[in-house]
């Protein structure tokens, strides 16, 4: 390697920056984790695992564990199935309306986490539109496992779709045709060609949704009913009963599977798909589809789409109906009430999201830059630390932050800062990954030649590298923004009267069955998110940013 270049790479400023960032990651990711772990084993003084023993002997906790696993298994299976069907229909089959199906498959990603649960109550609850009005029955038993599976699946199949759409598209359609051409019937082709080639994606999708469902807090707390799951149980123990050790131990139990899945998932995606050895056919073909199969796929996608639309329409309608199920007249009172109780929170939510978004994106790109700098010692550790927080359930993060930052020297609880820190460090992984992906495309040669022309590393970063990773930056920012606006599981432990969050407020309104108000707030939140994303992409005037690009990055997970 060029001598002067090597020197620049070892620019002391790089080392200093790297050290500072590492310290920050340790402080805001590892330290809370450590605090939580310590609490769970030193609850009653001295080191012991008695809390865990307790947890595993109490019926309700065992029940919560098995409930969580059952729920996650079902949701992961259904989500993957729907996501795969969508991906296949949109990218392989030839059916009308593919563009719209794609849009619908992505829409749920910008919604508050438990909006589906809310609209589910409106549709199928005791006073639900479909249950009480149309069918005249009490309820469809939506509280509990069934409702949760439906609601989570609707919210999470988009993730499956995103993971699988890339993989389905990567499979050369000629392979299926060729198999059929050699005499294999459709079912056999599907079993021997399509499935094996998409298996890594199916597994990845299943694991990701499993993890998402396991750590979900918003939906179970609203429509879980008697069906206790770990995240809710941990929250109730920790906040409700004030049993910190036990609450923490329950949360830690969530951490084990997610950590395991996190590593497994990386392994699977690494060996991702078989790159076809030679050129790939660009011809679009209807693949295995007969007209009959295409029709079936179309109807399936249409049904899911209609269901999603119904959910959104319900939320909008719920916003303007006096008393759902009793008095169907039009009203603006939810709106004015929401304004009274929620406006300040809305502004604060937005403010904190807007503050943390650029920080997240900038820090993510910076870490990506450091992590791809081959001369930097310990760059792998840096990368690992920054990606780790993806594997930590929100509940654990929330509890960890409470425990770590409630006394000096890090007394942060109740401040806006602690929320910003949660946003930044929880949303960091996606930005880092996006940045690394973008940077590895920026060929090292460009940087080297810039270095040969005599720029120092700060100059190279500003003039050469940054412009080329701008899209990754804005995509990461978009994603971080959405996540901050729709956060719940971690921040529910950290909000204060001064710094509340819309999600928590909506949750509270839902719990006391002020569904109209909850609807208004959800609706406004979605609108606000959409407007900001739109304005952002207009302002940056960059192609390939905004939601679609940010979702593309999400696929990496």
């Amino acid at each position: 390697m060029n001598k002067s270049f090597g020197k620049i790479r070892k620019d002391p400023r790089l080392l200093i920056t790297a050290s500072i960032i590492t310290l920050l990651l340790i402080l805001f990711i590892l330290y809370p984790l450590y605090s939580a772990f310590k609490m769970s084993i030193t609850g009653d003084g001295g080191i012991s695992f008695s809390v865990y023993r307790e947890v595993f002997t109490q019926k309700q906790n065992i029940r919560a564990i098995s409930n969580s696993l059952v729920l996650a298994t079902l949701t992961a299976t259904f989500s993957t199935f729907i996501g795969f069907t969508f991906a296949y229909s949109i990218h392989r089959a030839i059916i009308p309306g593919q563009k719209y199906f794609r849009a619908m498959a992505i829409l749920p990603l910008i919604s508050p986490p438990f909006m589906f649960a809310l609209s589910h109550i409106l549709l199928f609850g005791r006073n639900g539109l479909i249950t009480a009005r149309l069918l005249g029955i009490d309820s469809l038993g939506i509280y509990g496992l069934n409702g949760l599976v439906v609601v989570q699946t609707m919210g999470m199949f988009p993730l499956s779709y995103l993971i699988l759409s890339g993989i389905v598209r990567a499979v050369d359609p000629d392979l299926e045709l060729s198999a059929m051409n050699l005499g294999a019937r459709r079912l056999r082709v599907f079993r021997t060609i399509t499935l094996p080639l998409t298996l890594p994606g199916l597994l990845a999708s299943w694991l990701m949704v499993f993890m998402g469902s396991l750590t979900d807090f918003g939906n179970p707390i609203i429509i879980g009913g008697d069906f206790n799951v770990l995240s809710v149980q941990a929250y109730l123990e920790f906040t409700g009963m004030g049993n910190l050790p036990r609450g923490t131990a329950l949360a830690i139990l969530l951490l084990l599977p997610t950590l395991f899945i996190f590593t497994l998932q990386k392994q699977i995606l690494k060996r991702r798909s078989y790159v076809s050895a030679s050129g790939k056919s660009v011809r679009n073909s209807r693949g295995l589809g007969t007209p009959g199969i295409s029709r079936a796929l179309f109807i399936f996608c249409l049904m899911i789409t209609v269901f999603i639309l119904l959910i959104y329409i319900t939320i909008i309608a719920g916003s303007f109906i006096t008393l759902w199920g009793e008095d169907w007249s039009f009203t603006l009172k939810h709106l004015s009430y929401s304004y009274d109780v929620g406006f300040k929170t809305l502004i604060n939510t937005l403010l904190l999201a807007l503050i943390s978004t650029p920080i997240t994106a900038a820090m993510g790109i910076l870490i990506a830059f450091l992590a791809t700098n081959k001369d930097l010692p310990g760059r792998k550790i840096l990368e690992f630390l920054s990606l780790l927080s993806y594997a930590i359930p929100g509940t654990v993060v929330g509890i960890g932050y409470v425990l770590a930052f409630n006394r000096s020297p890090f007394k942060l609880s109740g401040t806006a800062f602690i929320l910003i820190a949660v946003y930044v460090f929880r949303n960091l992984p996606i930005t880092v990954e996006g940045g690394i992906a973008a940077l590895s495309q920026v060929s090292g040669e460009i940087e080297e030649s810039a270095a040969n022309l005599g720029g120092n590393s700060a100059y190279i970063l500003r003039r050469v590298t940054l412009p080329m990773i701008r899209p990754a930056f804005f995509a990461g920012a978009t994603y971080a923004f959405i996540r901050s606006m729709t956060a719940i599981s971690a921040i529910i432990f950290l909000i204060s009267a001064r710094w509340n969050h819309m999600s928590v407020l909506i949750l509270a309104q839902t719990e006391i069955m002020r569904l109209g108000v909850a609807s208004v707030m959800s609706f406004v939140l979605i609108i606000l998110i959409s407007i900001i994303i739109f304005l952002g992409s207009q302002m940056t005037k960059l192609k390939g940013t905004g939601l679609p690009a940010s979702l593309k990055q999400l696929k990496a997970y």
Partner: protein, 361 residues
Amino acid sequence: MMNYMTLANLTKKYSRGKGDEIHALDSFNLTVKKGEFVTILGPSGCGKTTALRIIAGFEEQTEGDVFLKGENINHVAPYKRFMPMVFQSYALFPHMNVYENIAYGLRALKKSRDIIRNDVAMACQVVNLVGLEKCYPGELSGGQQQRVALARTLVLKPEMILFDEPLSNLDVKLRIQTRTEIKRVHRMLGITVLYVTHDQSEALSMSDRIVIMNHGRTVQEGTPEEIYNNPINSFVADFIGNANFISAEVEEIEGKRVTIRLQNRIIVVKQENPELSFSEGEEVYLAIKPEATGISSDKADFTGIVDTRSFQGSHTEYKIEFEGSFINIHQSNMGKEIQTYQAGDIINLKFDKDLFHLYKK
């Protein structure tokens, strides 16, 4: 010999959004006799692949029929047609090794284990793949992949194989070698072959019959010799012979003898193409094949000015300004005293006038 396969008025329209339509096939007709090696030759985008995919049953034609042994197979599922195809991209199954790739069709037919092992071994022998059975496609060279694709079809002992530009991903040397290989297999097994390519030398060297195709239609059909010696129009002459075209005007017609005026001179051409008739005063093209022209050291009727010269090893290519147009001439480099010419030199040209053709402009 009976017609093994017939395409009758095959038409395929693709819509390109907003009501825009493209005719990938436009009343395309074709017959293939049993045991014949037929090549469809045409430029990129003329509909060759479309035709093959309809024959294989991957796509449905907009109009027209496909007959196999006299039976209409329009609605027969692709997996029942037993016309294995070698894809341009090979379409090898990346998650299966060579053995499994070749055995795929036999397994689909639920053959017994022993038969499969036996047949796969035979197929490997035929195409020289012995020893590579355990390799995955990603570990094979382009030529080896190509042979797996071929073996995968041969193992089914089909009556007919479809080839879609099977050699286009190979380098020149391998391409010529594989050409002979395919031809050998064709002769050895007596399989009927429908072969698609846009490479004229491939078509000329392998086929019993060539079908020249353009814009989804047949332009000319015949043996390689017929087509090469008597291209029916300027498209074929250009496509298959790399002919030089010189603008001319018809002066006089006497039966088969057509007198034409070039820029500065008048020549007489024998016009034997029954499909064409000219009228006096018509603007036409005079087509001259590169090999119909020579550079003469003696005094000759024609002269031209050397524009550029490029050495090609066995021959030298000259671009020569002749009667207001440019023509390409090949001069063999065999022999000892070959004179070379430089740009600007005026040289004497010798034509084999029997190889002149006239075409409509």
